[in-house]
C-alpha cells in the first residue's frame, strides 16, 4: 500500500514537472503560443494558426476556444494565455479593465446576424417581422451574451418584439435547436449559417446592419514571448488573416 502511494505521488510530481518544462521553453528555438479565442472564430482561427505555424519555423499555436466572458474570467485567474481574441468589445474592455491586456486591442473582424431556419423552413420565415408570427417557435441568445445583445439591438432598431420560446446560452445552442428541428427559426451570426451548410436555411434581413459585432484581438500582459504574441495579432489583422476570415464569412472590422 505504501509503495503504491509513493508511486502515485511520484507520478503526480513527474507529471507536474513535465508540464512545467513544456510551458517554459521560451529561450530555445521551439516556441508555443497560447491563444484564447471566442468560440465563433474556431474554424477560421484553426486555419490561421496552421498557416502561422507554416510561416514560422518552430512555433506551435495552441488554441483554447470558449465563450468570451468565460475566457476573460480564466485569464483574470491566471490562465497561461498569450493572446486573447474576443467576440465583442465589451469583453475586451473587461480584460483591459482587469489589466491583463499588454498591447492595444485591434479590431480584426465583424459579424452580423442572420435568421436561420431548418432547410424546409416550416414556419415560412422570410423577414425579421416573420419572427413575431404567432405559433412560430423562435430561439435567440440570452441578452447577457454577445449574440443576444446583438439580437436585442436589432429588435429595438426594427421596433419589433420577438417572443422567443428559449433564450439560449450561446449561439451554438441556438443553431443546435434549429438543426434538430426543435425550433422553427433562430437568430445567429452570418458565419454560423455559412458553417452549418446544407443543414440549415439562412434568411438575411436589412435590419442586421443595425447591430454589427466587432471582434478585437490583443496580446496579453505576461505573455511568454511578447514579440511573438504581438506578431500573431498583427498576422490576424493583416492580409493573411483577413483572407482566411473572409472565406469563413467574417466581414472587415
Amino acid at each position: 500500500m505504501r509503495r503504491l502511494a509513493a508511486a502515485l505521488l511520484l507520478l503526480v510530481t513527474l507529471a507536474g514537472c513535465s508540464d512545467d518544462a513544456r510551458d517554459r521553453t521560451t529561450d530555445g528555438p521551439e516556441k508555443t503560443l497560447q491563444v484564447y479565442a471566442a468560440a465563433s472564430v474556431q474554424n477560421a482561427f484553426t486555419e490561421i494558426g496552421k498557416r502561422f505555424e507554416d510561416a514560422n519555423d518552430g512555433v506551435t499555436v495552441k488554441f483554447t476556444f470558449g465563450g468570451s466572458s468565460d475566457l476573460v474570467a480564466q485569464i483574470e485567474q491566471g490562465a497561461p494565455a498569450d493572446v486573447f481574441a474576443s467576440a465583442d468589445t465589451a469583453n475586451m474592455d473587461k480584460a483591459v479593465k482587469a489589466r491583463v491586456v499588454g498591447g492595444v486591442p485591434q479590431d480584426f473582424a465583424s459579424n452580423t446576424l442572420e435568421i436561420v431556419t431548418p432547410p424546409d423552413n416550416p414556419a415560412h420565415i422570410e423577414s425579421l417581422r416573420d419572427l413575431t408570427k404567432r405559433g412560430a417557435k423562435v430561439v435567440v441568445c440570452a441578452p447577457e451574451v454577445p449574440c443576444g445583445a446583438a439580437a436585442a439591438r436589432v429588435e429595438k432598431a426594427a421596433g419589433l418584439t420577438i417572443k422567443p420560446v428559449s433564450e439560449e446560452q450561446s449561439v451554438t445552442d441556438v443553431l443546435g435547436k434549429v438543426i434538430s428541428g426543435e425550433a422553427d427559426a433562430g437568430l445567429v451570426y452570418v458565419t454560423d449559417v455559412l458553417g452549418a451548410g446544407a443543414k440549415v436555411h439562412g434568411v438575411t434581413f436589412p435590419e442586421s446592419r443595425r447591430a454589427v459585432n466587432t471582434y478585437p484581438i490583443a496580446s496579453l500582459r505576461g505573455a511568454d514571448d511578447e514579440t511573438l504574441a504581438a506578431y500573431f495579432t498583427d498576422y490576424v489583422v493583416g492580409p493573411e488573416g483577413q483572407s482566411v476570415l473572409s472565406t469563413y464569412g467574417f466581414q472587415k472590422p
Partner: protein, 263 residues
Amino acid sequence: MSLTQQSGVPRWVLVPAALGAAFVVLPLVALVTRVEWGSFFSLITSDSSQAALWLSLRTSAASTLLCVVLGVPMALVLARTTFRGQSLLRSLVLLPLVLPPVVGGIALLYTFGRKGLLGETIDVLGLQIAFSTTAVVIAQTFVALPFMVVSLEGTLRTVGERYEVVAATLGARPTTVLRRVTLPLVLPGLAAGAVLSFARALGEFGATITFAGSLEGVTRTLPLEIYLQRETDPDAAVALSLVLVVVAVLVIGLVRGTRSTAL
C-alpha cells in the same frame, strides 16, 4: 489530538483523509468569501432570481413526486421478484447515474422532441413538450429516478421478507401486505430516496439546458440562471450559488435525519 479509535486505523491515514476533507470543504469556503454580503439580499431577491428559485422548487417537487410514483414500483420489482434479464434491467435503470447529463438531454431530445421517437404521438395528443416546463420535469425525473430506486431497493433488501411472509401466511392479500407491512417498514428508505431525488432534480443542469431550453419563469431553473448570470453579474451568480449550497446542506441534514431514525 483526542481521537477515539474504535478499530486500528493507521495514523498516516489521517493525512490523506484530512487532505480529502480540505479538498471538498475549501472550495465552499472560497465561495463564501466571494459573497458580496452588502448586496446579497437584493441579488437573491431580484425578479429573475425569484423566478428561477420558484421554478426550481416547483419542478423539483413535481419530479420527486414522479420519482415516487415510478420509482417505488420499480424498486419493489427489482428487490422482490426474480426474472430473466433482471440484472441487465437494473444496470440500465441506473445508467442515468453515471451518464453525463448532457447525453441524457440529447437522448431525451430524440425521444420527446418534435422530430423525436414519440414526437408525432405527442403532437397528435396536442401536447407541446419542447421548451415547456414539462420538459424540465422530464429531464429532472430522468436523472433523479435512479436515486429513488437505489435507495429504496437497498432498504427493501435490508429489511428482508420475514414480516411479509408472516402477513401472507396469515391471509393478507399482496396489496394489503404492501400497504400495511412493506411500505411502513421501508418508509425511512423511501423518504431518503425522495430527498435525494429532490436534491438531484434541484441541481439538474446539463439535461435541462440541452433538452428544455432556457426562458425565465418557464425553463430557466436556478442552475441555468447561475450559469447565465456568470456572463454579466458574477456577484449574483455567487449569491445564488450559495443559496443552492444552503439547500444542499439542508437536504443532507434531512437524509441523515431519516437514516438515523432508520437504524
